[in-house]
Symmetry: C2
Subunit: 301 residues, 2 copies
C-alpha cells in the first residue's frame, strides 16, 4: 500500500478518470438502446457528464480499498450512486424547486432541454441507477444493496431532506438541529450509502460496514457545513453557481445561524469523528483520509 | 381451481382489497418513519391511495396463479409496480407535461400539494418501489427483479414512451407504428413486468415467463387501444378526466388515425394474441383471462 501515501491525489484522479469512463460508457449504451428517445438520452448525458467531483464513486472505491479489496470492485456501485446524485441535481434545479439557471457554469438541464424532458431525464437516471446497481450485485447481495440505496435516496432520506429544504419559509431562522437534519438526509445519507455499498462490493464484514457508515455520516455533515461556509465566504465564480439561489437558502446557512467560528469548529469536530471511525482500517484508509482532507480544505480552517 | 370460473370477478375484487390493504400499510409505515416529512408522506399517500383499478398488482397475482402458485406470493411485487404507476401519473400530470388539474375526479397531486412536493412525491414513490421490490425478493432473484422493473420503467421503457408522448407536436399525424411504440413503452412495458415479476415471485420457469411476457405485451397494447377508443367514444364524466388533455393527444388517438372499426379490430387481434399466449396455462389462467375480458369490454366490441 506504499503508493497510497504521497501519491494519494494522483490515485484519486486516476480513479475519477475510471469513473468518467464508466459513466460515459453507460450513456453510450443508453443512446444505442432501442426505445430510448435520442433527446432523452442526450438530456441524461448532459446532466450526468457535465463535470463534478464524483465524490460518491470515489468514496465507494476508497471504502472497498479500506476493507482490503481492489477499489475497482466498487466502481459500478459507486457510479450507480452518481446517477442518483445527477438525478437529484436536475430535479432540485427545476423552476418549482430552486429555479436555478446555471449549474457548474452551464445552463441547467431544464434551461437547455425544457422542463418536461428535464423531469423525465431525472426520472430516467433514477431508474437507471437501480438497474446499474442490480448489475453490480448480480447475486444474493442485490436485495440489500438496492434496499440501502432506496432508503438513502427515498422519502426518509434525500427526497425527504429536499422536501424540508424547499418548504416555503415562514421567516424564522431554523434551529441548528433542523439544519443538520436536512444536511443529514439531503447529503450525508447518500455518502453513507457510498461507503456501505463500497464495503458491500468488497464483501466486507458487518463491523467494517458500521464503521464506514459512521465515517460517511460525519463526513457528509462536515461536507455540508463546509459548503455553507464556502457559500458564506466564497464568491459566485469560485462556486460556479449563482448567489440568488444561495440567498433563498439564508435561513439554513450554517455560519449565519451559528457564526463562522462555531461553524468551522463544528466542521472540524465532524471531520475528527470521521477520522476516528477510520482508525481501525489503518493504512488502507489512506484514500478515504485524503478525501477527508479535501473537505477540511473546503472548510478553510 | 373450480372457484376461478364463475367467481372470477369476486376473486379479483378480493385480491384488489388485499392490494389496497398492502399499499395502505406501506403508507402508514412510511408516515411513521423518522426523517420522512409529514406533508411528503401525505402527498405520496394521496397519489397512491386515490382509487384505481390496481391492474398491475392483479396481473402479478394472476400470473403467479397461472404458474400454479398461491397468488399472494406476488402481492408485494405487484404493489411495488403500483408505486411506479402512481409516480408516473403524478409526474405526467405536472404543468410541464400534461398539465392536468383532475385525476379520477380529484385534484391532481400538484394542484393539491404544490408542484415541488408533487415532483418529490413522485421521486419518493419510485425509490420506495425499488425498496419494496428488494424486500419482496430477499434472495438471489432480487437482481433480476430489480433489473426487470428498472428496464420497464426507465428511459428505454415507460419514461422513454412519455418523452416521445410529450414532445411538441409538429402538426402531422403520427404513423400507427409510432403510436404503438409509444403505447408499448408507456403502458405495455409495465404490464409485461407485472406478469414476469408475478411469475418470478412464484419461481416459475423460463418458458412460463416468456409466454406471460408475450401475453402482457399484447394485453398492454390492447389496453391502450381500448383507452383510445374510450377517449374517442366516451365522455368526460365516464372517464373521470377532462377532455382538454385528450385534445392534446389527438395526434396519437388510435381511432382517429386508423378509423374506429380498424382500431377495434386491432384491439381484438391483440386480445386474441394474449389469449393464445395464455393457452398453455389452461384452467389456471382463469384470473388472467377474466382481466383480458375486462379489456375486451372496454374496447366495446
Amino acid at each position: 500500500m506504499s503508493e497510497t501515501g504521497e501519491a494519494g491525489p494522483a490515485r484519486l484522479e486516476a480513479w475519477r478518470e475510471r469513473v468518467e469512463g464508466c459513466l460515459a460508457g453507460w450513456m453510450d449504451a443508453l443512446a444505442a438502446r432501442p426505445g430510448c428517445p435520442p433527446d432523452l438520452a442526450e438530456a441524461m448525458r448532459y446532466a450526468l457528464l457535465g463535470g463534478g467531483k464524483r465524490l460518491r464513486p470515489l468514496l465507494a472505491m476508497a471504502a472497498a480499498e479500506a476493507t482490503g479489496a481492489e477499489p475497482g470492485l466498487a466502481l459500478e456501485a459507486g457510479c450507480a450512486l452518481e446517477l442518483v446524485h445527477a438525478y437529484s441535481l436536475v430535479h432540485d434545479d427545476l423552476p418549482a424547486m430552486d429555479d436555478d439557471d446555471l449549474r457548474r457554469g452551464q445552463p441547467t438541464c431544464h434551461r437547455r432541454f425544457g422542463e418536461a424532458l428535464a423531469i423525465l431525464a431525472g426520472d430516467g437516471l433514477l431508474s437507471l441507477a437501480f438497474e446499474a446497481l442490480a448489475r453490480a450485485f448480480p447475486d444474493e447481495r442485490a436485495a440489500r444493496a438496492v434496499g440501502l440505496l432506496a432508503a438513502a435516496a427515498g422519502p426518509a432520506g434525500m427526497v425527504g431532506g429536499q422536501a424540508d429544504d424547499v418548504r416555503p419559509w415562514d421567516g424564522r431562522a431554523l434551529p441548528l438541529a433542523e439544519v443538520e437534519s436536512i444536511h443529514l438526509r439531503k447529503t450525508a445519507c447518500l455518502l453513507v450509502a457510498a461507503l456501505e455499498l463500497g464495503a458491500l462490493a468488497a464483501r466486507a464484514g458487518e463491523p467494517a460496514l458500521l464503521a464506514l457508515g459512521r465515517a460517511g455520516r460525519a463526513l457528509g455533515l462536515a461536507f455540508q457545513v463546509a459548503d455553507d461556509v464556502l457559500s458564506f465566504t466564497g464568491d459566485e465564480a469560485s462556486l460556479g453557481r449563482p448567489t440568488t439561489s444561495d440567498q433563498a437558502r439564508l435561513r439554513r446557512l450554517h455560519p449565519l445561524l451559528a457564526g463562522l467560528p462555531a461553524s468551522r469548529a463544528r466542521g472540524q469536530a465532524l471531520l475528527a469523528e470521521a477520522r476516528a471511525a477510520l482508525l481501525p482500517f489503518g493504512e488502507r484508509a489512506q484514500a478515504l483520509l485524503s478525501i477527508v482532507d479535501r473537505v477540511q480544505a473546503r472548510l478553510g480552517a
